[in-house]
Amino acid sequence: MAELIVPALLETLYMVFFSTIFSLLLGLPLGVLLVVTEKNNIWEKLQLNRILNGIINILRSFPFIILMILLFPLSKIIVGKTIGTTATIVPLSIAAAPFVARIIEGSLKEVDKGIIESSLAMGASVTEIIFKVLIPESMPSLILGITTTIINLVGYSAMAGAIGGGGLGDVAIRYGLYRFQTDVMIISVAIIIVLVQGIQFLGNRLSLNINKK
């Protein structure tokens, strides 16, 4: 049992870790752009804002598993294969990016407009406001958002298991479901539950600890 579960757990952690990083790298700039380009914001670009919103909405409308399948050809180009945990990171990251963008957007919008205004009054440029005001001011909320993202990716990575991604989801489906090994199923699910609880707990703690508001 352990020789089945342990590698699967490591695979899940590996997938979640890297897809979190890559989806943040994609989603963070998108989220920032969504906010700053909207009406009356610091870099108003309504056309760009509409396009970004459109793309994100379309991507988020796809059932996640379909989107991942559609994105597998991209894995072929980037990592050279379409099967396995490394290959799964590509569609996971890209598919999660629009979700991350919305989460980031929500957090950044919580920043008091007055603080932005006072920064403008001090002669801060758009980039200075983004990096020195918007992001630091919304950090506690961003951390909660990132926590939600990680937890979502745990779930997504389990789904990815069903289409050849490996990890705990894969084990749960192949052994637990198809071979009727209920114990494997239960243990896989239990580990995922513990993972999710732990991540949420840590995220809450961290967000609370750094919040000075």
Binding site: D112, G114, I115, E117, S118, S119, L120, A121, M122, G123, A124, S125, E128, K132, V133, P136, E137, M139, P140, I210, N211, K212, K213
Partner: protein
């Protein structure tokens, strides 16, 4: 120092166009504390925001030290903004940064070295008497302390102009006075021009040299504060002042309860020495009943108000009022 010419700003809200301010002309001199007072929605906030172009005027020009800032590009605009400090009603401090970091923020934007920032922030902290709060976060401060941090931050780059957007409106009266005292000290010691907007006549009374009254987006009265208190030209000005004075309608008794004519006298220190009322009683066949009196301490002088009931024959009363009018005091028949 600041010259505003034919300044207008309108917002279009779908098909309707809303004029926030229209055709504003103002001149604000160096080292002056210039107050702009108006009710909420009068356009005062829009007006002060035009001075550093947080709000883009739709028409007109603003000259700061002879330069028309409405023509500035982004780069010169940011440069200009660094030379104009601004404080706000809700302080607008960075909530995730310490007091020290908040004051250091404009200096970081300027690209100063750590050492320079450190010494400047410490000087400022001392100046606003918050040395012990250096590592506190804004949420741990009182309103007055927050505004002191905001003032220190606004002064960090040695600005020539300080704008206050309802800077004391969220503070209690005692804290308001201490903040106003600080602003006055700053003006004297740094030779700063201060433009402030407020809806509180107390603020105008306590520190302003000049005042403009704004109503429905238009300046309806510009005056020195002394003149405004002595001799307000518009009803709005009178309403603002009467908010301070013992309000005759509420406080004293209904004027209709009195048989005689009720007058309100406004006088300054200069004519306080002459026994005007006593002379009036001697010269005319009237009787005088003193209903109330008070004194408003302004920045430069004091303005007194006296409310009298004058009884007697119509002719005598009118002559008495004429006599008062000739005495260079402000007479208002209620």
């Amino acid at each position: 120092m600041i010259k505003i010419k034919n300044l207008s700003k309108s917002f279009s809200n779908g098909s309707t166009k809303i004029e926030a301010i229209s055709n504003i002309n103002l001149q604000i001199n160096k080292d002056e504390i210039f107050g702009i007072i108006g009710l909420s929605g009068a356009g005062k906030s829009t007006l002060i925001r035009c001075l550093n172009r947080l709000e883009e005027p739709t028409e007109g020009n603003i000259f700061i030290e002879e330069k028309d800032i409405t023509t500035f590009d982004k780069k010169s605009l940011n440069q200009l903004r660094k030379s104009i400090g601004m404080i706000f009603q809700h302080f607008n401090l960075l909530s995730q940064k310490t007091v020290y970091k908040n004051i250091a923020f404009p200096l970081e934007l300027e690209g100063l070295s750590k050492d320079k920032i450190n010494s400047r922030v410490n000087t400022l902290l001392e100046y606003v008497e918050l040395k012990d709060k250096k590592y506190a976060y804004p949420s741990q401060l009182s309103g007055g302390q927050k505004q002191r941090v905001a003032i220190a931050r606004a002064l960090a780059n040695n600005p020539k102009i300080l704008l206050s957007d309802e800077g004391t409106s969220a503070l209690d009266p005692k804290t308001t006075r201490s903040i106003l005292k600080l602003l006055n000290k700053i003006r004297k010691e740094f030779g700063l021009t201060i433009v402030l907007i407020t809806h509180q006549m107390e603020v105008i009374k306590d520190i302003c040299d000049k005042v403009a009254i704004i109503e429905d987006g238009k300046i309806i009265e510009i005056n020195t504060v002394e003149e405004l208190f002595k001799n307000p030209k518009t009803q709005t000005a009178m309403d603002f002042i009467s908010g301070l004075k013992s309000n005759i309608k509420n406080e004293i008794i209904n004027p209709f309860d009195f048989k005689g004519t009720i007058v309100r006298l406004g006088y300054s220190e200069d004519n306080a020495k002459e026994p005007i009322v006593s002379n009036m009683i001697k010269n005319f066949n009237i009787q005088v009943n003193i209903l109330s009196g008070n004194i408003n301490k302004l920045m430069s002088t004091s303005i007194g108000h006296l409310i009298l009931e004058i009884q007697g024959e119509d002719g005598e009363v009118n002559d008495a009022i004429k006599y008062l009018n000739n005495k260079s005091i402000n007479v208002e028949v209620i």
